[in-house]
């Protein structure tokens, strides 16, 4: 039997210590709550926030005096292909400016203009004005550091590292607690609380190639779904065109930013053909991100890929090399950074951002009372495509909102029912104390899953491919999962961790695939080769999925258009 370390009481439990989780904890503490802040990794060192390199979008008008939050709002809605929830986008656009100053107070020294007063804002694709405040190609990790410093200033925030949250407990439609495994000793920990904020980030690890931190397994999405929360836009996932696929430990890491294609990087398939010439004789590689991703993916899918499932990127004799070395040394000069001593390497599109996720209202609450969510784990804000620089402010804006409402909601008279505790204890014991004879390793099943998702629910989708994907997923679930065993030991047993994550990922995979099958049109990152047109008559709608009485239930809802309507919208600059 799994050892039970007992129950911890807390006003607010925050799951995840990336940008969203830390910000939520700070706000909840400022509202007087006693906060427990847990991560399955280490505070300040876990999550994808650290990995964000450059831009933090905010309409503060330093890059261009004309800029206003309402233009940021419009850009986000339009570039999201009209299916983002406009009430949430409005919050993001209106409040992101203030978060720039909050972060500076926490200790982020934004780059400034020569006058020393105005912030230096970079242009970013999709934004009509220069909006990207930044710091030294390491904006994300500076933001994470500043937040951790602020977290540590609060006596009422209790951070706990190496706590893998595995379940949310609901009683009578309300959150009453959460279950977790303390990886440091392998014991079950129960949290008794009336308010949980899920801030567990994206789900890139479901895909074979991803640039996210390797704990990005979408746990929060799966747990919230199991607890009865609605998910929105589960079919929407963003890819970035060019990342290493080899060597193995560099798999997924972005090779170059998209605006550097003009410098003369060239792509070749395994037969040595410069295949972009075939698709775009004039522009060749210098095409928009999504088009480039699809072309590369097509080459690989049609069997002209390299040994490690990519295409060749040739960076020899590029005009921009000196520029790169000077201006982007941290990000894009591979030899000094990663030991890539070649100008030719294998690359493929990499999974970059989870647009779908947990559905929230303007208080960041889900349809389950006491369950809140913030950050990348949330769905429905970026619609069908996220523009650069909008994810970090999303963490700050919605982290604060979630923290405030969770603190106000916190109830002291919560009781974790004994029967719920017993059921959870049994479930986890069964899951983790598997008989030795189970022959399949969690890693094997995980690799199968990643392959299915990348191939069938990736950049180019079709009814045939998605149905094949679903069939493979059902086979994985029925035939492989029951055979997945775990090795001995309780302390930091990675096979325990992977098995817990795997179950959640297979659950998510089915939902993502089914939703992608439902959306019979192309919109933003969702490209259907069998329905290549955007259909605003039928599909100005969102797909919402929920577990009702143990059954999965899909529905579509018209997009909420309270501020802007595609029929009448005209873009402009002042």
């Amino acid at each position: 039997m799994l050892q039970n370390a007992g129950v911890k009481k807390t006003d607010v439990l925050v799951v995840g210590t990336g940008g969203a989780g830390c910000r939520a904890a700070i706000e909840a503490a400022e509202y007087g709550a006693d906060v427990t802040l847990v991560s399955k990794g280490v505070l300040g060192r876990s999550g994808t926030t650290n990995m964000a390199e450059v831009v933090y979008a905010a309409a503060i008008g330093h890059g261009d005096r004309q800029d206003k939050p309402r233009y940021l709002f419009e850009d986000t809605v339009v570039e999201g292909h009209w299916i983002g929830d406009q009430r949430l986008v409005k919050l993001l656009a209106d409040e992101s400016a203030k978060t720039v100053y909050d972060l500076e107070r926490y200790g982020l020294p934004w780059y400034r203009m020569e006058d020393g007063r105005h912030y230096y804002q970079l242009p970013t694709p999709g934004h009509r004005y220069d909006r990207g405040v930044h710091y030294n190609e390491s904006t994300g990790s500076k933001m994470q550091d500043a937040l951790v410093a602020e977290v540590k200033r609060h006596d009422d925030i209790h951070p706990l590292n190496d706590i893998l949250v595995v379940g949310l407990m609901v009683d009578d439609g309300r959150i009453v607690g959460a279950s977790a495994i303390d990886l440091k000793n392998g014991q079950l920990v129960l949290f008794e609380t009336g308010a949980v904020i899920v801030a567990t980030g994206g789900a890139g690890m479901m895909y074979q190639v991803t640039d996210m931190e390797h704990g990005s397994t979408g746990d929060g999405i799966a747990m919230a779904y199991r607890a009865g929360a609605q998910l929105i836009a589960p079919e929407m996932h963003q890819f970035f065109p060019t990342a290493f696929v080899h060597p193995e430990t560099l798999r997924g890491i972005i090779v170059t930013s998209s605006n550097l294609w003009g410098f003369g990087l060239r792509l070749y398939n395994a037969r040595g053909e410069r295949f972009m010439e075939r698709y775009f004789p004039d522009k060749k590689e210098n095409v928009p991100r999504d088009v480039l991703s699809r072309s590369i993916f097509q080459e690989i899918l049609e069997g002209r890929g390299t040994e490690h499932g990519g295409v060749w990127l040739d960076a020899s004799n590029i005009d921009g090399w000196e520029y790169l070395r000077r201006e982007r040394a941290r990000s894009y000069v591979w030899p000094t950074k990663l030991g890539v001593n070649t100008e030719r390497f294998e690359i493929a599109p990499t999974y970059h951002f989870t647009m779908g996720g947990i559905r929230i209202d303007t208080d960041c609450q889900t349809n389950v009372e006491g369950l809140y969510a913030a950050g990348e784990v949330v769905g429905g804000i970026h619609g069908a495509n996220r523009i650069g620089g909008n994810a970090l402010p999303e963490c700050m804006v919605f982290g604060a909102i979630a923290g405030r409402h969770a603190a106000l909601h916190a109830r002291r008279n919560v009781a974790l029912p004994q029967s719920t505790v017993k059921d959870e204890h049994r479930r986890l014991t069964d899951l983790l104390e598997t008989p030795e004879r189970l022959e399949l390793r969690p890693k094997d099943a995980l690799n199968t899953l990643k392959d299915i998702m990348y191939r069938h629910v990736g950049i180019v989708r079709s009814a045939q491919g998605l149905e094949e994907g679903l069939e493979k997923l059902h086979r994985l679930e029925a035939e492989d999962l029951p055979r997945v065993g775990v090795g001995p030991g309780k302390v930091f047993n990675w096979e325990w961790i992977w098995k817990c994550e795997l179950l959640g990922m297979v659950e998510q995979a089915k939902l993502y695939t089914q939703a992608a099958l439902m959306r019979t049109e192309t919109r933003g990152a969702h490209f259907r080769s069998d329905f290549p047109q955007t259909d605003n008559v039928k599909w100005l709608r969102n797909i919402v999925v929920q577990k009702v009485a143990g059954e999965v239930c899909y529905q579509t809802e018209p997009v909420e258009l309270s501020y802007l309507n595609p029929a009448t919208y005209q873009a402009g600059r002042e």
């Binding site: 505070l43 440091k184 080899h246 070649t342 302390v491």
Partner: protein
């Protein structure tokens, strides 16, 4: 090295000595030697990943990491010096390396340390 086309695919394998520690057995730390093919030995991180994936799933090191020099949770001691495994390149002429847990924090298991508990 990572140079994919000119990599010494058939170079002599690397000997990797890892300091193991299992708190559940109650025993003292002990050394274990693994042999890693050259083509999987560009960075120290490659070596650990190879060992855990191919030779010994029980080897403990942090896996929820960035692989990209930003998270700072991959520290170990390599030949007695604190290094980030994703940054520590292994020269092709090196025959043997020694990996121990990062010395500044209390060990949890094998190469995993408790970053909340400085020593």
């Amino acid at each position: 090295m990572i140079n994919q086309e000119n990599a010494p695919k058939n170079g002599k394998p690397l000997q990797v000595n890892v300091l193991r520690y299992d708190p559940e057995s109650g025993g003292a730390p002990y050394w274990q030697t693994y042999t890693v093919p050259r083509r999987r030995a560009s960075r120290v991180l490659d070596v650990l990943e190879y060992i855990q994936d191919e030779l010994d799933p029980g080897l403990g090191y942090r896996r929820h990491i960035c692989h990209n020099l930003v998270c700072h949770s991959c520290y170990v001691n390599v030949n007695g010096h604190a290094r980030m495994t994703c940054q520590a390149l292994i020269k092709p002429d090196v025959a043997e390396i020694r990996i121990e847990p990062y010395g500044d924090f209390v060990p949890i298991r094998d190469l995993i340390v408790d970053y909340a508990q400085p020593r």
